[in-house]
């Protein structure tokens, strides 16, 4: 047991050192992400998107449509969640699983 804290310390130091977990790198990743997002929209000025149905060829349509579709789906899921979500052992309370376990015992 005496060796335990030392090993934990070493693990923690290693975690802090993992480049993906460091806060400054996460900030960097976010900045890079924003740049890429801006580039994909800006690129449409040079690369025309041939739309199938009028609006889908507009500037940044993919971006706006993607973002708001996801927003809508998350909100719908959240709203449905209020009525559909149950405790994770909801079905276990039915009793039949305990019956089976009893029979095995």
């Amino acid at each position: 047991m005496s060796g335990q804290p030392e090993r934990d310390d070493r693990n923690d130091r290693k975690d802090r050192d993992h480049w993906l977990a460091r806060p400054e790198n996460i900030r960097l990743l976010w900045r890079g992400f924003w740049v890429v997002l801006a580039l994909t929209v800006a690129a449409q000025i040079f690369i025309p998107v041939k739309g199938h149905f009028v609006v889908d060829g507009w500037l940044a349509f993919g971006a706006v449509f993607g973002f708001f579709s996801c927003l809508a789906m998350v909100l719908v899921a959240k709203a449905l969640g209020y009525s559909l979500k149950r405790d994770e052992d909801y079905y276990l309370k039915g009793g039949y699983l305990e019956d089976m376990e009893d029979r095995d015992a």
């Binding site: 992400f33 929209v41 041939k50 940044a60 973002f67 579709s69 927003l71 039915g94 089976m100």
Partner: protein, 566 residues
């Protein structure tokens, strides 16, 4: 001796041999049988190559075509990769069942008539149930029973449709039809149950995540995709399938967003992906059917890859709930990378197999001027990235640090994952040879700059939405009610209620019978029986004077005469 042996026979023999063999021999069978099957599949030429008399019918166990070979090929590849993934970890009966299950899928692929199709269909139902049971927990056994009941009901409905079709048309051939009468509707419903279509989609997410870490890899591949093949063969262009497919697509996204169990998230996204294929079959043009077949092929690979990475996590940590996982990328880099490749492929990111196949379906909708369908599919593509593409790897491998430091995958699991990860990218980067295998000629260029840009915008901004909306998506230790509530709770209560009522009614009946019997006994004793002392004899057992008897006889005779004269 028939010239062509059905390729499925190889897998059935392998399934029978896995039990009695041990050690390296068993491993060799698990790994080589799918490869031998793959070879046999490519020996099957076009057309019916084997007929066998059965009752009054000529059944055709092997009929070749591009479409059939394509599906059989991916089923055999899947059996190989699944075997590689699991042969050192899974129990022998799970491996044997997996081979029999794959044999069913390959058998359906080459089934030239409805009778053969049905036989292999049921083979799949039987042995997939065994794989669910191989999960080994009480929950797995209960889920397996529900799974079996659902598939047996589906099989019966399909059988009713097949019988009706055979009786009314006199033909057992597999021919494209539309759902226009009772027989064809029954066939369609029977097939759609296996495709996890509404209202019974719940069976899939109920059963698959209860199987073992290796079992779910096999389960993810065969049942729903043989259903897609059956739809392509029997119901191309059936309009109702478009909307069934759209519903499945949206259902998968919403339920996956609500879900906490990592493997259940993947199970819901099977329904979502099969929805794309069902929708494509409904559109029914050559391009759409190509898209459905190609997407099924690509989907089996990346979905198995995702289940493999989740399987490794479950195998190493024993946990599959997002609330208990996180931060695993530190010690499981290979599993993380393979999981991410699978996640990018399912999201149809450019340069992955999802992009080169799924975009065919969207383009097929566009070329048929199905405006609403196209926009819904585009929204769903964004939603796939949201619920599977980011959510799965984020909550399992990144998110918070759960403190878990599991080892990375064992070598055989790693090899299977790398194989499928490479296939995901090869099919995405260089799809032309694959396009050659599709059932119809392909005149399709997936990488038009404008289209790539559109999908990059769509997907990357979905990613942005995910990270901005993370506070709304914090995982809770919950499950979500689905239509299976009807049979797991409501019907259970009804049945329990009927049982209790019947018990009560039975008790009441018994009481009544007892009482009546007692009454009769008392009546008899009072009027007929001799009392114990002989003093209180019953009225009919007393001694009566003869005159009284003669009087009663006279009364009876008079009554008789009166009745006779009337």
């Amino acid at each position: 001796m028939p010239e062509y042996l059905p390729p499925a026979v190889i897998l059935i023999v392998a399934a029978l041999l896995i039990g009695p063999t041990r050690g390296h021999v068993r491993s060799a069978i698990v790994l080589l049988a799918p490869l031998a099957t793959l070879w046999a599949i490519w020996q099957v030429p076009d057309g019916v190559v084997l007929t066998v008399p059965f009752l009054d019918y000529q059944i055709e166990p092997v009929e070749g075509s591009d479409l059939r070979r394509l599906f059989a090929t991916i089923f055999a590849i899947m059996a190989f990769a699944g075997g590689l993934f699991s042969f050192r970890q899974a129990r022998w009966y799970e491996l044997a069942a997996a081979n029999a299950y794959a044999a069913g899928a390959v058998g359906v692929s080459f089934a030239g008539d409805l009778i053969t199709l049905f036989l292999f269909w049921e083979l799949m139902a039987l042995f997939s149930t065994v794989i669910v049971w191989a999960g080994g927990t009480p929950a797995a056994r209960a889920a397996g029973i529900r799974y079996a009941v659902m598939h047996l009901i589906g099989g019966v409905i399909l059988k009713v449709g097949i019988e009706g079709t055979v009786v009314h048309t006199g033909s057992i051939d597999i021919m494209p039809v539309l759902a226009t009468n009772f027989d064809t509707w029954m066939m369609l419903i029977g097939i759609l149950i296996n495709a996890a279509a509404p209202p019974v989609s719940a069976w899939l997410a109920d059963a698959y995540p209860e199987s073992s870490p290796t079992g779910s890899v096999f389960l993810s591949a065969f049942t729903t995709k043989t259903a897609v093949l059956a739809l392509i063969l029997l119901f191309p262009g059936e309009p109702v399938l478009i909307w069934v497919g759209i519903y499945m697509v949206m259902y998968g996204i919403i339920y996956a967003l609500l879900e906490n169990d990592a493997r259940r998230i993947l199970a819901y996204s099977i329904v979502n992906q099969v929805g794309f294929m069902v929708c494509a079959v409904g559109i029914g043009t050559q391009m759409a059917l190509n898209g459905a077949a190609a997407h099924a092929f690509a989907h089996i690979i990346y979905k198995a890859l995702l289940f493999m990475s989740a399987g490794v996590v479950v195998y190493r940590t024993g946990k599959s709930k997002c609330t208990e996982l996180g931060g695993l990328f530190r010690t499981m880099p290979l599993t993380t990378v393979c999981g991410i490749i699978g996640a990018l492929a399912i999201s149809s990111f450019p340069l992955t197999s999802g992009f080169t196949t799924k975009s065919m379906i969207s383009d097929a909708a566009a070329s048929q001027h199905l405006v609403v369908v196209w926009y819904l599919l585009a929204a769903a593509s964004a939603g796939v990235f949201l619920h599977a593409g980011i959510k799965f790897p984020w909550f399992v491998f990144f998110q918070k640090d759960s403190g878990l430091r599991p080892k990375d995958a064992p070598w055989n699991m790693a090899a299977a994952m790398v194989l499928f990860a490479v296939l995901c990218i090869v099919l995405g980067v260089y799809p032309q040879p694959f396009y050659e295998l599709l059932p119809y000629p392909v005149d399709y260029e997936p990488y038009k700059p404008g289209k790539v840009l559109f999908y990059l915008q769509l997907l990357l901004f979905s990613g942005l939405a995910f990270f901005l909306l993370l506070p709304l998506m914090q995982r809770t230790r919950t499950i979500s009610l689905d239509t299976d509530w009807v049979w797991r709770v409501a019907l259970y209560r009804v049945a329990y209620g009927i049982g209790a009522a019947a018990g009560e009614a039975g008790g009441l009946l018994r009481e009544t019978v007892e009482r009546i019997r007692g009454d009769i006994g008392r009546f008899g004793r009072r009027h007929l029986g001799a009392g114990e002392s002989g003093q209180d004899r019953g009225v009919f057992s007393q001694a009566w004077p003869i005159g009284v008897t003669a009087l009663w006889i006279a009364v009876l005779l008079i009554a008789y005469v009166v009745v006779y004269l009337l």
